[in-house]
Amino acid sequence: MASISEAQPSPLIRLWESRKWYGAEWYMTAVGAFIVLFVVGMTIASFLTPNLAPYDPEMRVADPFLPPSPGHIFGTDQLGRDIFSRIIYGAQIVMQVALLSATFSLAVGVPLGLLSGFLGGRLDQVLSLIMDSIYSFPGLILAIALAALLGSGVLNISIAIAVVYVPIFFRLVRGQVLSIKQELYVEAARSIGAPGRVILWKYIFPNVIPSVVVVFSLNIADAIITEAGLAFIGLGVDPSKPDWGYDIYRGRSELVGGRWWLVTFPGLAIATVALGFSLFGEGLSEILNPRLREV
């Protein structure tokens, strides 16, 4: 056994050793992965316990407008709430909306892209036309319109954001299917008499997954920014709940008075988390698509 394990190191060890192939960028992926794990872990923990933050995020715990100090490391806002605690609990909404919306767009865009690319013809033309029209809208504007139409709530906001990103998955998957369809192994599958659904499910779909995973991660980063944008203009999930985007909106008028901490810390939180998912996604794409590395 010992000799076998020597010859075949565990996948984790191999992954670790493979880092040198990715040039200097591998540690960026690691940073991204760390941020992703940290935020996801923090969000899950915040759902499980109300005592994760030092203070109650929704209650007045000190005087308003306290600058950052050892007691309130990010300071307090205009209602005397602890900004650090609000950031910890604010991750709940951002992460819920980002994950849900990316999942929705994936769940709609991937199957449609598979069918459209595989079947072609009229269906493909109609779907491509619809998706391209959605895609041609500026994302945030479309999300604002939909959010205003659907109203607030985690589900509604997620759907509003998801609609914007469906075409991204659709176009990605459709393009991949069109190219994989030309592969010899798909022709070989036809020559053994495999029915269409088997070819699509076993020969084409698995070969599409790697790029979908990458785009999913990049999509979450985008959705985080879009959600913050919606909350900033007052189309957030729930004004009574801590929300990074909404906190920036309320803090921005205090900037004039030199109270920079109201805006800066939620802004940094958004930027860091979005950056984390982006780095992670880009890193994944380099690992999963070795051909990109040479570019």
């Binding site: 592969e183 010899l184 192994y185 022709e187 070989a188 599958a189 036809r190 020559s191 053994i192 008499g193 495999a194 029915p195 088997v198 076993k202 020969y203 698995p206 070969n207």
Partner: protein, 335 residues
């Protein structure tokens, strides 16, 4: 004589292109008998691969079968529904592709490929039973059983090509179309592969349509040879007579251009000119612009494929009975 397994009659396959319609297979008629290896040779672009894919009705877009009949086991394949055709593929007609590197799904294990082939056509076979059959089959092909759960990229080119035969054999297909099966293998592996194919062919009485441009492979494996030039069959004969005395000037030129260890003289004969444009094929015999023995009739009339003696078919005016009275050698010579 046995009944033919496949009867191709006047098959026409065209590709629509910007420049015009390419007739890649133009009125080919051909019989394939059970348990024979029929070699189909010709230069690149003469339509031999198209003919192979037409038998499975898998001609690539923008190609289309526009005319003729393909009779297989008493049924006209061109009249079957897509679903009936699908049931036939793999179970009765199988194909081995040119490039084993890309003809297996990179994300499926070897065993899954075989199991899937079996279960596609025999859903009643259980997963375990299919796996057992796959293991036996792989073993017969000289691949170790522990490689069964490997992914295609873990196998060598020769092994992958053997897996491809395995897929063709999994359901004992009546007809195996091997499209340039050895082109991407090196000579040693090619020889091993051909030995194995010959062995399996004799053991199971396989019927193989061997499409290749490699005359050597045909000589080694085939019982009969069909020579294709510019979308048409020009000669059809048993393998020995063909190699001993090729009749059609194209076949003669083809055989003369093969490097031979007993080559007389020190230069290899080459064929002059290039293959004709299939959008605007030359009138008359398609080979006449390159033919050293062409005479006036060749440019005017197209020679039909005729059986000039038993089992010996050739499409050339030189062997026309009317023409025999005149002296063929005195015909117009092409410069």
């Amino acid at each position: 004589m046995k009944e033919p397994l496949v009867r191709i009659r006047d098959l026409v396959v065209t590709y629509k292109t910007r420049a015009g319609e390419v007739r890649a297979v133009d009125g080919v008629s051909l019989d394939i008998y059970p348990s024979e290896v029929l070699g189909l040779v010709g230069e690149s672009g003469c339509g031999k691969s198209t003919l192979g894919t037409a038998l499975l009705r898998l001609v690539r877009h923008p190609g289309r079968i526009v005319g003729g009949e393909i009779w297989f086991d008493g049924r006209n394949l061109l009249a079957l529904s897509e679903e009936e055709m699908r049931r036939l593929r793999g179970a009765h007609i199988s194909m081995i592709f040119q490039d084993p590197m890309t003809s297996l799904n990179p994300l499926q294990r070897i065993s899954d490929h075989v199991v899937e082939t079996i279960r596609t056509h025999k859903p009643e076979v259980s997963e375990e039973e299919a796996r057992k059959q796959a293991a036996e089959l792989i073993d017969r092909l000289g691949i170790m059983a522990e490689r069964l759960d490997d992914y295609p990229h873990q196998l060598s080119g020769g092994m992958r090509q053997r897996v491809m035969i395995g897929l063709a054999l999994a359901l004992r297909a009546d007809l195996i179309i091997a499209d340039e099966p050895t082109t991407s293998l090196d000579v040693i592996v090619e020889a091993q592969f051909l030995d194995l194919l010959k062995e399996l062919q004799e053991e199971f009485g396989l019927t193989i349509l061997l499409i290749t441009h490699n005359i050597g492979v045909v000589a080694q494996l085939a019982d009969r040879v069909a020579v294709m030039y510019a979308a048409k069959l020009v000669e059809l004969a048993d393998v020995e007579p063909l190699f001993e005395k090729p009749l059609h000037p194209y076949t003669q030129a083809l055989l003369a251009s093969v490097p031979n260890i007993r080559l007389e003289g020190d230069t290899l004969k080459i064929m002059h000119g290039s293959p004709p444009d299939l959008i605007h094929p030359p009138p008359g015999c398609r080979f006449h612009p390159r033919c050293p023995q062409a005479f006036d009739r060749c440019a005017r009339e197209e020679p039909p494929l005729k059986e000039i003696r038993p089992r010996r078919w050739v499409a050339c005016w030189l062997y026309d009975t009317e023409h025999q009275t005149q002296n063929p050698e005195s015909g117009t010579q092409d410069p």
